[in-house]
Structures are given as C-alpha cells and as structure tokens.
C-alpha cells in the first residue's frame, strides 16, 4: 500500500510537471509514453479500490497532501482529486497539449495517422495517434448525425454511464450522500433540468429496465426525482407522453409522482372567461386543459389501479371547492366530468 500511495503521489506530481513545467522540453517518446503508463496505472488503482472505504480514505488523504505541496510551488495549480483518477490519462493529455514547451515531435506522435495495423507493432501503441483517435470518433459522429439523432445517442451513453456510476457509489456503503451529491452535480452539469437532462434521466431509467442488478440505482434515482419537484415537473413536460407512460407502467413511485405532477398542474389553472377554458398561469411551458385531460386518461389506461384512488381525491377536492356542478367554478369538478368520473 505504501508503494501504491507513493506512486499515486508521484504521478500527480508528474502531471503537474507535464502541465506547467518547461522540463517537458527534454521529454522524448519514451518519457511521454511512460507518463501515460503511470496515469493508466492510477486509473487502474481507482477502479480497484474505489469501493473500499478505508483504502479510499487513505488515498484521498495522500492526494490532499500532494495537492497542497504542489499548490505552494505552482501558481494556479488545479487539484487532482480521487474522483479525477479515472480520467487521469485525459488530464495528462490536456496538460501536455496546453504546455507550449512540449516538443513538436511529441505532438506529432499524438496526432499520428498511420493505419491501425502499423500501430499494433509500434512500441508506443497506446500513445501514438491518441489524439487522432479522439478526433476521428468525434468527427465520425458528426458525419453520421444527419442519419441518426446524435443527442439521443449521446444521452443513451450518458444515461448508461450515470447508472454505472450511481451503482458504484451506492455499493460503497449505507451513506447515500455521495450518490445524492453526484446527482446534484449531474443536474448542475446539465445546466438545470433542461431537455438534455431529461433525456439522460429517461435513458438511465430505460436502459436499466430489465436489469435486476440495477434495481438499487434505479429506485434511488426515482426517489431522488420525487424529492425534486421542479425537476420532476420539467421531466414531465419535456418528455413525450409515450415515454412517460412507459416509465409510469414500470415504476410505481414514478406513476404516483407523475399523477401528483398532473394534479399540481391542474391546481395551477385558472378559468379564463373569455376563452371559456381553464389555462395554466404559472408553469412554463403551459399545458392546456384538453392536454391535461388526455394525460390523465392515458395514465389511467396504462395504470388502471390508479383510477379509483385519484377519483376519490378529485372528488374530495371538488367538495372543498364548494361541490358545484357548474362549469368554470372548480377545476376539479370540470376535470372529473371530462374524465367521466
């Protein structure tokens, strides 16, 4: 373990040198290749020990020490945390490419475009053409994007990765705070509960549909969504109805939460005399009374068990509004009659 900690610390220092020091001017192919080997070693260390709380803590402490000493020496130094370790090779690459002292011969090596066959025989096959590989994949996706929905494909990949990470965080122990923190970061990273976030969450829920092993992260995600009302509302208004129905059918908690959202939308409505219709006032984007009714009906069709309880609730709400049977006085009354309840 001592050796591992020492290696971890040295590699982080190496990364700092790669990104900030003129010493890279002396680097050759061998040096650079070794640097990437060490970064890969750290990635492996992370995957091996991230689920072991004791070892993880020790490593985090070591990293803290190393970061502090580097901060003293290098102005503007960016810390490397334990959760950065899985991406250490990429961080090394970014550091190197941004370092103006990196010899052009090494840059050429990274952008090499020889055929894959040639590269298999090369001594530095992991480093040679590393950047070419990335550029190629990104460009190929863009070229194929007219044929295929790229953002949907991206969301699917992101969704799967999200569930993998969530699963890993939840398997660490009973403390759910890291998982919650993670989801919070994801939400932030998506700049709020916009379309992309919704796509990712939906993909995350749908890809783990048939996987028994993924029950824990799925349930956790749904719980988390339930507690974040604004997110849930955005999810319900952004996603296509069929998708929402699918989720409601498969997840009872989601079904109930969705129903609550629909009721919330109804409660936000006001009767507009000039239009002779109930309209939403607060939420954005708006859903019409007609559409709301349709959503309720679709939900009841998919989840018949929900109908009876909801009917009871709506009736109670109508009574609290005065129990009138005249149109335009209570949204609950009008809803009930629209739903033939």
């Amino acid at each position: 373990m001592e050796a591992v900690l020492k290696n971890l610390s040295s590699t982080v220092e190496l990364l700092a040198v790669a990104a900030n020091s003129g010493a890279v001017e002396q680097w050759d192919k061998h040096t650079m290749s070794r640097a990437f080997d060490w970064a890969r070693y750290c990635e492996h260390v992370h995957s091996r020990f991230h689920n072991n709380p004791a070892i993880r803590r020790v490593m985090e402490q070591q990293l803290e020490l190393t970061n502090r000493s580097l901060q003293d020496v290098i102005p503007g130094y960016t810390e490397v945390s334990f959760s950065d370790l899985p991406r250490l090779q990429h961080l090394l690459l970014i550091g190197l490419l941004n370092n103006p002292e990196l010899p052009i011969s090494l840059i050429k090596m990274l952008f090499d475009t020889r055929s894959p066959l040639d590269n298999m025989q090369s001594e530095y096959q992991d480093v040679t053409g590393l950047c070419s590989h990335i550029i190629r994949c990104k460009a190929a996706c863009k070229v194929l994007s007219p044929l295929i929905d790229l953002s949907a494909a991206g969301a699917e990949v992101q969704g799967r990765m999200l569930m993998e990470r969530l699963g890993a965080l939840l398997s660490r122990g009973s403390d759910t705070r890291p998982a919650e923190h993670f989801l919070g970061c994801v939400l932030q990273g998506c700049q709020g509960a916009g379309r992309q976030f919704c796509l990712v969450i939906t993909a995350a829920l749908l890809t783990t549909k048939n996987s028994a092993a993924q029950t824990a992260p799925r349930e956790f995600l749904l719980d988390w969504l339930q507690n974040k009302h604004s997110v849930l509302q955005s999810l319900c208004s952004a996603l296509p109805a069929t998708l929402l129905i699918d989720l409601a059918k498969d997840h009872n908690k989601f079904r109930d939460a969705y129903c609550d959202v629909l009721k919330k939308w109804a409660s936000d409505m006001e009767y507009c005399v000039s239009e002779g219709e109930w309209v939403q006032t607060s939420t954005n984007p708006t859903v019409s009374f007609q559409k709301l009714t349709e959503k309720f009906m679709a939900l009841f069709e998919a989840c018949p068990s929900l109908r009876a309880n909801t009917e009871k609730e709506l009736k109670a709400l109508k009574i609290s509004d005065g129990d009138f049977d005249v149109k335009g006085l209570s949204v609950w009354g009008d809803l009930l009659s629209a739903l033939n309840m």
Binding site: I134, I135, V186
Partner: protein, 414 residues
C-alpha cells in the same frame, strides 16, 4: 524544387478551395454535405500539392499564399475532412510543415502558437458543455465517451428494405471510408443482399472505396473485401494486380509463393475474371510460370487447361510480343510456347523447346526488321527449317504461323 508557375497554380486553386471551405463551414445542409463528399479526393490531392510547396519553402509559400492558414484552419473544423485518415493526414502534414522548429521572427512564432492552439482545441475541446460536465462528474475519459457514442450511433443504423436509405447511407459514409471505427458499418453496407434492380450503393461510395483500397488505406474484414470486389470491378483488378506483383517481386522461395498463391481464394477469381480485366500480361505470365516449375505434371496440366480457357490472353500475348522490346520478350515467349507445347519446367525437354522458340522468334524479328513486307520466299524459308528436324520437338508450327500472321498484320497496320 517546384517551379514558380506551379506555385502560381496553387495560388489560383487556393481561392477556389478557400471558398469551398468557407461554404462548407457555413451551412450544414444535405447539399453542402454532398458537395464536401464529392470534393474530398480532389481536396486531398490539392493538400498534397500544397504540402510539396510548404516543405520546400515555408516563408515563400506563406507570403504567396496568405490565406493558407485560414484555409487549413477551416478544414480542421470540418468533420467530413477530419473523420477519414486519408484526408486528415495531409491536412495535419501541412500544419507540421508550417511549424518552425527554430522560429526566427514574430510571424513564425505566431504561426507556431496558432498551430498548437488549433491542435489542442481539436483534441480536447467539447462543443457539448453538458457532455463535458457529465464526463467529469461520472469520471469518464473523453476518448472512452466518444468511442462509446460512435459505437451507439453505428449500432442504431437499421437496414430498411428501401433502396433509397442504403443509397443515402452509402453516400453519407464516404468521409468515413478511412475511419477504422466505421468499418463494420461500411462492411455491412457492402454485404447488403442486392434486392433491387439498380445498384443500391452509391457509385461515389464505391469509387471512394476503390481508391482507398488501391492505396492500402482500407481496413475491412475479409468478407467485406470480397463483397467490395463483387461491387467494384476496379477493386478486384487492383487486388489481382497487387497479388501478381507480390508473386513477382517477393524474394521468398517459389515454394512459399506457390503456396501463398495457390491457397488464396483470389486465384480462382483471378482466372475467372481474366476475361474482363485489362491486366498486364507479363504479370500473368509470371504467375503461370510460378506454378509450372513445381508440382509435376498434374499441376502443369491444370495450369495449361486454365490458360486454354482464356485463349484470348494468348492472343493478346502474341500481339504484345510483336510490339515489345527484345528484353521484355522472355515471359511472353515462354507463355506462348507453354500454350502450344506444355511441358513441365526444369526438364531438358522444356529447356530445349524454349531455346528453339527464342531462336525462331529472333529470326522472325530480324526478317521483319529488314523489311516490313518480307518477300514470300523468305517467309517460306522460315517455316521450313523449323519443321525440318522432326526428331527434335519444335515449337509447334501453329505458334510460328500465329507469330507470322501477327507480324504481318502489325506491319501492315503501321
């Protein structure tokens, strides 16, 4: 060193290509996509031209082509150009060419800075901010993410029955022909069962494939390559040519060559398609030659039998012989002699036949060199000595006659 007028040519082309690069960057419509794909090969050639200039005189080139940096920069951000290795390579090489190892002035230093910046951005910048944040939080390296997205995109392609989608997809895949990750999709397109009357794959796609294949830039599975041969005759021709060349040029023992060639599926296709292809006859002779010295009479007979089925080859060999230089005659004469008088190689008999064939040929040639229309008695005298020694096997009179006929015809045609 390249002539100044060639640089001038580049200068005029540059405006054309810069306008193209600007147009491609501005719109992302199906028309611009199609236009880019159609121009890719010519663009590559132009970049290689530029590269030659750049390698020779950097500052000269930069002075005469001030828009060069702008042009290269725009291309770097065009995914249709950067997806394929064969187009990205000359582009990057141009950039390397503009880089000064020891910058001596501000212009060179600035150029260096700019090149580093472009490359860094290309490799590390993410235009999808959300994806970038997610990668960070999920601890997923960029390369892994992009590889996975590409895999997902490629797997989403569904094979509809309509020919139009396959046509559209094959067109869209033109920039991806030298992108190794896309080879499963390209292979799948090639191996689509041909259900339509018209060719479902775009001609442009097949041309681009064939061009990449001939310059060894294609990385397809064996099955996909065979499908390519079915779709594109030029690729098959190319495959045959390269096989023949490897047979004639490799230093390995005839045994190894023989095994290599014999075991190859290509041999069967080679002889079957020989009727349709315009392959160099001399190479064919060498292949046939490689079979005969070994294996004994059975192999020899098989080879001869195959040759007989492609008799027009022999005809072509005769015609070629008539117009060849003396030093090139060897393999052709051998083929003709073998055709008329098949013997196993290495034997005295074979050797004897070959020698006499050569003598006869040289004699014939000398007669015709003197006069394009040799007198009849002269010709008669040629035939007689050849058949005057019945004890010794001679190149069949048929051969001599055939040679004579061809010589006469070529002489009169001149």
């Amino acid at each position: 060193l390249l002539a100044p007028d060639e640089l001038l040519c580049c200068f005029y082309s540059m405006q054309f290509w810069l306008d193209k690069a600007v147009a491609w960057g501005q719109a992302d419509s199906p028309d611009t996509q199609k236009d880019t794909c159609l121009h890719l090969n010519r663009l590559r050639d132009f970049l290689q031209q530029l590269l030659a200039h750049i390698n020779n005189m950097v500052t000269e080139t930069m002075k005469k082509l001030p828009l060069l940096g702008q042009f290269l920069g725009r291309l770097c951000w065009n995914p249709y150009v950067t997806a394929g290795d064969t187009f990205r390579r000359p582009l990057l090489q141009c950039l390397w060419g503009l880089y000064s190892e020891h910058p001596s002035n501000a212009v060179e230093r600035k150029a260096n800075q700019w090149i580093r910046k472009v490359l860094c951005q290309l490799a590390t910048e993410e235009d999808d901010g959300v994806a970038q944040a997610l990668m960070k939080h999920m601890g997923v390296p960029a390369k892994e993410y992009h590889v996975n997205v590409l895999k997902k995109v490629l797997s989403k392609y569904s094979y509809w029955c309509s020919c139009d989608s396959i046509l559209a997809t094959s067109d869209a895949c033109v920039p991806l022909i030298t992108c190794p990750e896309a080879s499963p999709l390209i292979g799948a397109l090639l191996q689509q069962p041909v259900t339509c009357v018209k060719e479902a794959l775009s001609e442009h796609f097949l041309d681009a494939l064939s061009s990449a294949y001939s310059s060894w830039n294609l990385s397809l599975e064996e099955q996909a390559v065979v499908s390519l041969w079915y779709h594109s005759l030029p690729s098959l021709e190319e495959a045959v040519l390269s096989l023949l060349e490897s047979v004639t040029n490799t230093v390995s023992t005839p045994q190894m060559l023989h095994q290599q060639v014999a075991q190859s599926l290509l041999v069967g296709i080679l002889f079957f398609f020989m009727r349709n292809l315009s392959i160099r006859i001399k190479s064919v002779c060498c292949v046939v030659l490689s079979f005969c010295p070994l294996g004994g009479t059975t192999k020899c007979f098989e080879t001869w039998f195959l040759l007989v089925q492609c008799a027009h080859w022999v005809q072509a060999a005769v015609q070629l012989l008539v117009t060849s230089e003396p030093e090139d005659c060897g393999p052709l004469l051998w083929l003709l002699t073998f055709y008329h008088h098949p013997t196993t190689g290495g034997t005295t008999e074979c050797f004897g036949v070959q020698v006499r064939a050569r003598e006869a040929w040289e004699h014939l040639r000398s007669v015709f060199l003197v006069s394009a229309r040799p007198p009849i008695d002269r010709l008669q005298s040629l035939v007689t000595p050849l058949s005057s020694q019945p004890q010794q096997p001679s190149p069949a009179p048929l051969l001599t006659l055939s040679l004579l006929v061809n010589l006469l015809f070529s002489a009169s045609g001149r």
